[in-house]
Amino acid sequence: MKKGIELVLQAKRGDREALSTLLIDRQSKMYKTALLYVHNQEDALDIVQETSLQAFLSIKHLRHPQYFDTWLVRILINVSRRFYNRDRPISEVVELTTDCHRQVDLHQDLMQDLAMVPEKYRLVLILFYFNELQESEIAKVLRVPTGTVKSRLNRGREWLREKGDVIREY
């Protein structure tokens, strides 16, 4: 953790290598969050690229190094929103990594359900379930009250229960 904060401080001073290390350490999380949001591999890579650019240009304004992750997710979400709001057809999600058909189907169904959830609910579901952020942390990232995060989570779960292909107590 201390090493992480030192790297953030170095990056704030303009050390490109330090920021590069921080971003590469978080590359899986960045890519997955972007992919879950836009459901398109090419766009997800573009989002990671644009997020890296924005992070480099604005890291000097990061006041609290300990909030680097929250700050980075916020940039990523803002960039993803811009990409998502361009008029593009949603492409089908194919992220298969296992040979077990049942698990494959479940994973595919879940990804497809998530792609269909309205944007504002999808965003909190991604941050809560996939990024494992707490409701209060999501509130900080999205700059909305915690109550709003709770209600969006509930509505998102409700949507998945009622309209999704995967039946489960979310």
Binding site: L23, L36, Y129, I167, Y170
Partner: protein
């Protein structure tokens, strides 16, 4: 439908990450940021140099007993009502004093009239438009009288002055600055030029003065030859022949021709008199996104006849700015979609005082950019 317990962490782990591609995306993003930062530093340096140059050329700040008095920040400033005959197009072209690209400094001697020292400080030029700056220094300057002065400008014999506009502002105690801007026709000759200025009723007195002739260097103009045509032989044919471009404005050279035996005498007489291109719509994907800012329209520059075919040549001047409807503001045309098309409306006088549209002439937007 599937019905199972979802282990989110496992589901997350199942998403495959193309690590090489993601690492490359991060590196590319950081590379772009570095370039972006360098570009901004360079831009900052250019702006600083330009500002310093302006300070040197215009002497914008003078410290005096009452404090710091700033110079005029805009040539023709509507908000501070420095002129009654405000022309927004001139202001768009020359209003930004930090941009010195159209500025030429001149070395001119001071003329003394009735206790007043008058000196020409510089000239600004862009396609179809010119301006000059004159300083007045003296103890008894009357700003209201300065505004009432008669300013006459004479260019070389190939050019005429259209819509002369003036503006005044105080630089310091006993120091006023005058801006005079005007449109000109036939501005593309590659030769150096001269401007003669005559001022009547100097500072409210009965005295008149001629300032030393200003020698100006030829304006670097990019010429685009165009072959857009409209109309037919019975009503006349219109065409755009050439567009002379500079970074802040352009001159549209267009002509109307007709066969004397095929049109009525009345129509021939009307076309000989005038033809206007005053409207220019910018179109992207068959949709109008805005229109260009007109400076001056329909200046007749030439007429010639070959057998029965009569051709009359005209010019219109536009600022290189487009009012973009969706943004609600003017933007430089070089920043518009490079695939945009500009549709110029060509009008001729009608028989019953209504103008008649001869047709629309279309050119790609890059024909308007130097």
């Amino acid at each position: 439908m599937s019905s199972v317990n979802i282990k989110w962490r496992q589901e997350t782990d199942k998403i495959e990450v193309p690590k090489t591609a993601v690492t490359r995306a991060i590196t590319q993003g950081l590379d772009q940021a570095t370039q972006h930062q360098r570009h901004h530093r360079r831009l900052g340096l250019i702006i600083t140099v330009a500002a310093l140059l302006c300070i040197t050329l215009f002497n914008p700040l003078t410290i005096q007993a009452g404090g710091v008095v700033p110079a005029i920040h805009q040539l023709l400033d509507k908000n501070s009502q420095k002129t009654h005959n405000y022309d927004p197009t001139m202001n768009k072209i020359f209003g930004d004093l930090s941009d010195v690209s159209s500025y030429q400094s001149v070395s001119s001697s001071t003329v003394k009239v009735d206790g007043l020292k008058i000196q020409i400080r510089g000239v600004m030029m862009s396609a179809g438009i010119k301006a000059f700056v004159v300083d007045y220094r003296g103890a008894h300057i009357n700003p209201a009288a300065l505004r009432r002065q008669d300013v006459q400008v004479t260019l070389n014999q190939h050019q005429s002055v259209i819509d002369l506009e003036q503006n005044y502002g105080q630089v310091a105690l006993g120091h006023y600055r005058q801006f005079v801007a005007f449109y000109v026709n036939d501005d593309t000759s590659p030769r150096d030029d001269s401007i003669d200025i005559h001022i009547g009723h100097v500072n409210g007195s009965s005295q008149n003065v001629s300032l030393p002739t200003i020698k100006t260097k030829a304006l670097p103009v990019t010429v685009h030859k165009i072959t857009a045509k409209v109309g037919n032989s019975t009503v006349g044919q219109g065409s755009i022949d050439q567009i002379d471009t500079t970074p802040h404005s352009f001159v549209l050279n267009y002509s109307v021709s007709f066969d004397q035996q095929k049109v009525t005498k009345k129509t021939a007489s009307l076309i000989r008199k005038a033809a206007w291109v005053s409207e220019a719509d910018v179109i992207v994907n068959k949709k109008k996104i805005g229109d260009l800012m007109l400076g001056s329209s329909g200046t007749k520059v030439d007429e010639y006849q070959k057998l029965n075919q009569v051709t009359t040549k005209f010019q219109s001047i536009f600022a290189s700015q487009c009012y973009v409807n969706s943004k609600g503001k003017y933007v430089a045309i070089r920043s518009l979609n490079p695939n945009a098309i500009v549709r110029f409306k060509l009008e001729i006088p009608g028989h019953n005082s209504h103008d008649r549209v001869l047709g629309y002439l279309r050119v790609p937007i890059n024909s308007l950019i130097p």
